[in-house]
């Protein structure tokens, strides 16, 4: 129970003509069952590489990954992956896309039961009306809903999300964060999500893992996010801790935009963050509060 996913000394090295390029070095992380952890860092820092190694889509150079007491080798449907682009097969309907995975995992179940599972998850993500549509007929947000439904419908041991909302506009993104967090709460899944959106990480995560900049990226700092659950966006935004944590994260990211090696104390760097990046209170009124209430 205490350590569900263990990432130990994970290292990724690509051979290049100029010699080996170390993308990630000695990455260590332990995740408890049912925990929601966000990996945050600058683009290109290697956070997606870590996630795809956990997903088994990228080979591990050194180190190991243990999920539920078993070392992971290669990809498998025990980890539900939500990619940045929804990765739906365009010649299949939304339902068929979800069923493709369900058929694979629940091959002993009767066809009606498999259909029920797929239909259940599609309706939970709000697509009961659009199940028989093909991806081309769906909006970007709806496609990602299918992606989420597909990942959850596999009944995976854990969820891996690779910037799943990165390509969406901010309103759709908030809607989908809500969809995701509700499903996560219902199914009690362990989740590891890569993002570069500080607010998204603060709203969703129990812990935020900040990665240092690559090459040779590693864990820079870990932030506990103790907002009470179930979370409501308005309550989170108004929480007294919110802006302290946000400032902390942004300062960390700011430090690492300029420095190669992490400072001993994240947030206590030698130079202060530029004023544009410090969270100003006037950010709040700009948020359309009416749209933030859970659907």
């Amino acid at each position: 129970m205490s350590e569900y996913l263990v990432i130990d000394q994970l290292t990724k090295i690509y051979p290049t003509p100029k010699g080996p390029a170390v993308i990630v070095r000695d990455f260590n992380l332990r995740i408890k069952q049912g925990e929601f952890v966000c990996l945050i860092g600058h683009s290109g820092c290697g956070k997606s590489t870590v996630l795809s190694m956990v997903a088994g889509l990228s080979d591990v150079t050194a180190g190991g990954i243990i999920l539920a007491g078993k070392e992971l080798v290669g990809p498998g449907p025990d980890r539900g992956v939500v990619f940045q682009s929804p990765c739906l097969l365009p010649w299949m309907t939304a339902l068929e896309n979800v069923l493709l995975g369900v058929d694979q995992v629940f091959y002993t179940a009767r066809p009606e039961e498999r259909l029920q599972i797929a239909e259940y998850y599609l309706s939970v993500v709000g697509l009961s009306e659009a199940m028989l549509k093909r991806p081309a007929e769906l909006s970007q947000g709806m496609r990602q809903r299918v992606g989420i439904a597909r990942a959850f419908a596999l009944a995976p041991k854990m969820l891996l999300l690779d910037e799943p909302f990165g390509m969406l506009d901010s309103l759709t993104r908030m809607e989908l964060q809500q969809v995701l967090i509700e499903l996560w709460r219902k199914d009690k899944k362990t989740a590891l999500m890569v993002t570069h959106d500080v607010d998204e990480a603060l709203f969703l995560a129990d812990r935020i893992v900040c990665m240092t900049n690559g090459p040779e990226a590693e864990v820079g700092a870990i932030l506990e996010v103790a907002f009470p659950r179930p979370r409501e966006r308005k309550a989170v935004l108004e929480h007294p801790e919110y802006y302290r944590l946000r400032a902390h994260l942004i300062t960390f990211l700011e430090e690492h935009a300029h420095k190669k090696s992490p400072p001993a104390q994240p947030g206590a760097g030698s130079h202060p963050a530029p004023p544009t990046l410090t969270p100003a209170p006037n950010v709040i009124p700009q948020r359309p509060v009416a749209l933030l209430t859970p659907r």
Binding site: G56, P75, P77, C87, W91, L100, Q104
Partner: protein, 261 residues
């Protein structure tokens, strides 16, 4: 360009008119043996008026001849697709396979049907009366399969990594990956290959029939050349062109259906 009513009909008719005029002038001036358009029409009329008539082995309505040719093309073309598509998949899927066979494919591809046919006849010489048909089929298949092979392999290589990741993450079996992911993803490319292959298959038929003397448009053309009835050569050329055009249109309709999928 300014558009006007019926321009889609009038403009092509102008083109045809120009060609007919050049033809008429040529027939009247420097090419004395070339029959004029009017003469061609008069001599060809019985073949067009009764397109399915059968007056003798080598004296049949033009559509009846075309039908024989189409049947032969259909067989050879089917053979080309059956062989070419799997080869294309293997080339696209395996880099080693591609390295082994790509050079030989590039060498065989530009060889003319006129060169393949004698080899085909030699190969099936043991088949007796069937030799000419089998030789023709061999030639059609060998010449027309290359676009299918190459387009399929390009299509397989062009499958987005996203789709392959889905297959990997779900741990789809090889069979399922092939039928649920690889083939549907390659289909648009495959159909482009199929369309080009059909064009070539139709091109080859004439050469094959000319050399084997089989009844069909190509065989008829060659026979009428030997019989000095030049009007019929032109009739055959026009028929072959029109049928090729129709086949291409039909295939592109099918192709477009798969493109949108």
């Amino acid at each position: 360009m300014k558009k006007f009513k019926l321009d889609w009909l009038v403009l092509p008719l102008i083109g045809i008119g120009v060609v007919l005029l050049l033809w008429q002038i040529s027939a009247a001036t420097w090419a004395k043996e070339l029959p004029s358009p009017l003469k061609t029409w008069q001599v060809s009329r019985p073949y067009l008026a009764e397109p399915f008539a059968k007056r003798g082995e080598m004296d049949q309505g033009i559509l009846r001849f075309s039908w024989y040719s189409l049947i032969l093309v259909a067989k050879g073309y089917a053979l080309a697709l059956l062989i070419g598509t799997p080869i294309g998949f293997l080339l696209g899927l395996s880099k080693t396979f591609a390295k082994i066979f790509d050079p030989i494919i590039q060498i065989l591809r530009p060889v003319s049907p006129l060169a393949w046919l004698p080899l085909g006849l030699v190969l099936f010489v043991g088949a007796g009366r069937q030799a000419s048909e089998l030789g023709a089929l061999f030639t059609i298949a060998v010449c027309s399969m290359w676009p299918t092979v190459l387009n399929t392999s390009v299509g397989v290589r062009a499958i987005p990594q996203d789709y392959l990741n889905v297959a990997k993450v779900l741990k789809l079996s090889r069979r399922k990956t092939l039928f649920k992911v690889l083939i549907p993803a390659t289909l648009p490319y495959m159909f482009t290959g199929f369309r080009l292959s059909l064009g070539i298959a139709w091109l080859v038929i004439v050469a094959a029939e000319m050399l084997t003397g089989r009844p069909g448009v190509g065989g008829f053309l060659w026979q009428e050349y030997n019989a000095l009835i030049y009007e019929h050569i032109i009739l055959c050329i026009i028929t072959i062109g029109v049928i090729g055009f129709i086949l291409d249109r039909l295939m592109s309709v099918v192709e477009r259906r798969f493109k949108t999928a």
